[in-house]
Assembly symmetry: C2
Homo-oligomer: 365 residues x 2
């Protein structure tokens, strides 16, 4: 179900094919985020038009509302949201561990406060797999415990124990044979903890491995070093998924380290805040100088937005708070990253990934 | 440029073809409203997909921002907003006569306060035509003076004088030979005033005639009677445009009275406020009973929304304040009215418009 097509000769970059219950996904792949069963402002048709082959939704959020049982009764998440390609579901471990949920960790799982009824509930590895089974996603992520950046060794050791224990329970609770299950490596930025976590998870035999707990405040070099040391801990024939990373330069760096799968709300969130990516870096679509600029966001881009509209029109739409502005910039930013992935895959196939990435970085900075 | 294809045998309804600089528009036609150069939340592609052949924008609003000169420098409004079919532009007379603009009427035109610079400005018939010429719309509406519902005879008499005077000045200031110019009938709900206004406007010889000053608070019967008495005042070979009316039953009634063209923000505004039209009346998409309803908004509808999504999904999107909810319901409501127009035209061609309208009303109520 994961096949490596070509490995770069000078970096860890590789092109692969991940086959899921719904389709085949070429890697390296960037997944738009559909936390609540929708990629904000966009339709499935628009995502397909830009070449998207996988998206990621969130088990915990959909459990809270509208509920996995409701979605299951509607034929599952694919049918509910009108998306017939691969869906990853994140467990929600990362989302639940926030102050607003007044969470408490114990041996069973995560106790949290649901503001809708004001009561405490338990989120367990078993429930997490039940939800993802009900949603019918192609790939389920295990429930993990992501310690905040800056946690002590002792805290991280506890978190690794919990993560490993929960991963095993998720595997035991697997209820859908067609669904792939990915584990998530934790261990903060302590190399030995990461190693311990990885060894135990790999022994359990998952379909793929997420690298979690990064891009949460640590310095960029620390993130880079952690990815670099984590990748060899994952069996080379398994897909490697760096969770929550989505800026163009981080994507290229991580691809060269051997990452296959990415997701991030970065391109869509930025788009809604009037920031667009171009081959020459980010631009603020509300800068006055754009108000009479007849060029598209990026002259080399072939997305729907760039084929039809000028910067001046986008400036006007943002100024007038027209929602179409958010749509058009979201389409552009996601297309930009999908195109970056397409070009990366081509470059790897042609053994010129280093040159490609260097040139992109030079233009982008 | 306006050709009558078929007249109903029992009502005033008729099918026509209005040829503009950009395309031919089959009438009766309903135009989505693009006040600021965008039909709220939607792309031109979506409007085309639902069969839209004409939209209406607003000269005064585009003059305030981003300015007609800027739009002209971008190749005109069609190019600016990416729409290559017919564009009507309303003069903005109706929009400027509001408290927020602290307007004062005088012989030159309308003096108003622009909140962006805090200064008073003049909006004149000549400026109004200059703006519409610059925008390059297919059809320009003259600057008119719409008196509020409940105005006295004397007030309405003054308003008719002004409207007639301004219409002549607009005609004199016409600067674009390819642009059709429509006059607007006023006269409140005083039949003799309406008659006087119409006679003088018709004598000037416009390309079409709007019926203005309705749907602004008067009882439905008064509106109906006013349309009924106004239609014969317009030469039968000219298009008749009832401004600002867009509920399904009002559309059918007005078609039977001989109206050819409609516009209204009603379907898109309602859609953004979670109200959708169906063959069996309006539904509130936030009603709890829809939360697990697997049916589309309207089972007979073939719009993008109804082909892909359930009421349950729309309920979920509205509950989570996802902007896609507004898009999908806007697409549905506009498609619903476009389909009503298509079916009306077919029924008129087949001499069964009365039966068609009766059946629609019976199901809708």
């Amino acid at each position: 179900m994961f096949e490596i097509i070509h490995e770069d000769t000078t970096t860890g970059a590789r092109v692969g094919k991940l086959t899921t219950a719904h389709n085949t996904v070429d890697t390296p792949v960037f997944m738009p985020v559909a936390t609540k069963g929708v990629v904000k402002t966009l339709t499935p048709t628009e995502l397909k038009d830009m070449g998207t082959r996988a998206i990621i939704s969130n088990a915990f959020h959909l459990y809270l509302s509208p509920g996995h049982e409701l979605i299951q009764s509607m034929g599952g998440l694919h049918s509910f949201m009108g998306w017939d390609r691969a869906i990853f579901t994140d467990s929600g471990g990362f989302q639940i561990l926030r102050k607003e949920f007044k969470f408490k960790l114990n041996s069973k799982g995560i106790s949290y406060m649901n503001s809708r009824d004001g009561k405490r509930h338990m989120f367990t590895p078993e429930l997490c797999m039940e939800i993802q089974g009900g949603l019918g996603s192609d790939i389920a992520m295990v429930l993990d415990d992501c310690p905040p950046w800056g946690s002590t060794r002792d805290e991280v050791r506890d978190s690794v124990c919990r993560t490993v224990n929960w991963a095993q329970r998720c595997l035991n609770a697997r209820c859908n044979e067609d669904q792939l299950v990915f584990a998530i490596l934790q261990g903060g930025t302590y190399p030995d903890m990461r190693q311990a976590c990885a060894q135990r998870l790999v022994k359990m035999g998952f379909d793929g491995y997420g690298i979690g707990g990064l891009s949460i405040g640590e310095p960029k070099e620390v993130m880079h070093d952690t990815i670099k040391s984590n990748v060899p801990m994952i069996p080379p024939d398994k897909p490697r998924y760096l969770m929550g990373v989505g800026s163009p330069l981080e994507l290229l760096d991580s691809i060269s380290l051997g990452i296959d799968i990415f997701d991030s709300a970065f391109p869509t969130r930025n788009a809604r805040h009037q920031t667009a990516m171009t081959g020459h870096g980010q631009i603020d679509l509300r800068r006055a100088v754009l108000s009479n600029d007849p060029r598209p966001i990026d002259e080399k881009c072939e997305c729907y937005t760039c084929r039809h509209f000028s910067r001046a029109y986008l400036y006007h739409l943002f100024k007038e708070s027209e929602l179409l502005a958010m749509r058009l910039s979201s389409i552009h930013n996601l297309y930009f990253l999908q195109e970056l992935m397409r070009n990366s895959r081509k470059a790897i196939m042609d053994d010129r990934f280093v040159d490609f990435a260097d040139q992109f970085k030079k233009d982008y900075l």
